[in-house]
Point group: C2
């Protein structure tokens, strides 16, 4: 069903580097614990995955930040580990330790046994949430769908959870690269189907979160993370129903590899705060849009400091479209909601074109 045009398409226009009236802004984890209304729904839902798996509640928390702030995009409320959970690894969360798997991958046989989830059946709550959110948004702003990158998903699946050293998956990478490639290939196929289901359900943009690509050496990043993201981009239905759906690739700590990331066919590249956005623009800004890149910790400081840092980054990017303002990582749970208001308003006010 062809949809009505978006009422606010600043985010989409900036990604395609078309003129905008001011710089669009959204925040990674904008639906999250810094909002009291989120914490209330989260409590009601029980645990985190129950919230993700309930399309009505996922819709509610997706919309919450848009009621408070003039964000130029909504992002599907979900987790990056829905695919391995659907593969049967048994995702659960422990307070303070983050995500864990009951059945981590420990052998080649474990990988051979994995089947590619059917998103409409095994992860139906995600396309259902997309449909619900799109209906409620009523074309006010675009909706971003997303997935974890194959490498990032694989780190959790092999380590069994978060890791500081990534010793298990890197041991596998150096010792038996073919086995790791078999896992990454299944994950890439799964991500393609998963993101296409989100596209078919109505998302206006898709983003790949490569949270842990930055822990790899340069050749390992190219072979074990970037190659699979490239495969995904080329497998997506980006012209579904004659729409033109932009893609964003974000590798945290990927500043050394921007040229390589910009070359895989994505529309925009996400930047963390360690790279200067003017340098990033000089390196790749003629090929892609840039998304970022304020240190989330700036939001701990005064409104004056927040405005000053927003201004510095806007000036650093410079004239012309092609910039989606964002934090360089998800917002921290302790941030004051008032500081977020200051941040969003500063981006819009200080970037009037």
């Amino acid at each position: 069903m062809p949809s009505l045009p978006l009422k606010n398409d600043r985010f989409i226009r900036a990604l395609f580097r078309k003129p905008v009236d001011c710089t669009p802004v959204w925040m990674m984890r904008q639906a999250g614990r810094y909002l009291p209304e989120y914490r209330k729904v989260r409590e009601q839902a029980g645990d985190f995955m129950s919230l993700c798996k309930n399309p009505e509640l996922a819709c509610e928390v997706t919309l919450q930040p848009l009621r408070r702030y003039e964000f130029d995009a909504a992002i599907l409320f979900s987790d990056i580990l829905t695919i391995p959970d659907a593969m049967g690894l048994g995702l659960y969360f422990t307070p303070g330790e983050g995500p864990r798997f009951e059945h981590p991958i420990t052998s080649k046989a474990d990988i051979d046994k994995l089947s590619i989830p059917d998103p409409l059946h095994d992860i139906a709550y995600v396309p259902d949430a997309v449909t619900t959110i799109k209906r409620e948004l009523n074309q006010s702003v675009p909706l971003i769908g997303f997935s974890g990158s194959p490498w990032t998903l694989a780190t959790y699946m092999v380590e069994g959870g978060s890791s500081k050293t990534f010793s298990k998956i890197k041991g596998l990478l150096y010792e038996d690269p073919n086995t790791l490639h078999a896992l990454l290939d299944k994950l890439a196929q799964s991500v393609i189907q998963y993101l296409n289901a989100q596209i078919h359900a109505g998302v206006d943009c898709v983003m790949l979160f490569d949270t842990w690509g930055g822990v790899l050496s340069t050749p390992a990043y190219a072979a074990f993370s970037l190659a699979y993201m490239e495969k995904i981009i080329s497998g997506l239905d980006l012209n579904y129903e004659d729409r033109n759906i932009p893609t964003i690739v974000f590798t945290k700590n990927g500043g050394l590899w921007l040229e390589k990331i910009a070359a895989i066919g994505c529309t925009g590249v996400g930047l963390d705060w360690t790279i200067d956005i003017d340098i990033a623009r000089a390196r790749i800004g003629d090929k892609v849009a840039l998304q970022g890149n304020m240190d989330p910790c700036v939001l701990y400081s005064s409104e004056e400091s927040i405005r000053s840092e927003v201004k510095r980054i806007l000036n650093s990017y410079g004239e012309g479209s092609g910039h989606v303002f964002n934090l360089g990582h998800g917002i921290h749970p302790e941030i004051s909601p008032d500081h977020v208001a200051c941040f969003v308003d500063a981006v819009h006010e200080l970037s009037q074109h």
Copy 2:
């Protein structure tokens, strides 16, 4: 007292980019838990700081890896947090959580109260250990002294221990930069005196570990980490007793800033494994030596894989001196001592000039 020449000066020669017969190698944390003989001494000493504070035992564990392997340098066994401990913050270690401080910095008043430790009085165990180790080494290989960078020390002092988000110190950085500068300035003065005491006691090289510089934005890194390392380098007695003492600066995740690091007057720049050493050499190798940069996780894999990765990095650096082989971070405790032997031998064998 002028000392006899070093029997093996490959490490020093490579730092000054003078010809060497093969590439020198040592390992960050080479005196550490992967060695059973270390674990025995550690048990005997009680807790970790009791080991650091006992010059005879610190000497013993410093020498242990040199008895097993053909390392081209020894590194003083100590902790990076000796200075804040001597300032009265009460360093202690909790299993699995790393270093903690009983009295973290929580106000400007806390910073005003800090006094600069006299290394010969308040941290005497460190120069004492240096004297002891130098005597026992008997000029066989050079001894590296070290300190944490002011920014890295400050992160632990303000956060109270390790951190994932660095929210407290970055809140301070953005909200009240002058107060943070006051702390960093005291730390820089302390590090100068501390490293000079190590130089006077006999170390042949000094290294600054900037473990957490890489969590900063580019302008914040320049102002809050690099500027203080530059101040330290220019305050060191590098020509003490007519010796010519090289310096190494290592910012983990500092690959974006190599040109800036190479310009602060250091002899060598440490590289983690995320940057290709050929690219690093093209960017700064005409100004400084390079130290690094194998992913420590390679040591989990087979001897064949270890040799192949050593070869790749040696070839990537290319012909000529100026390379000190090392890991891109400290060795992990679970690594097999046999794999370390394979690693050290591979560097020497595969780099015959």
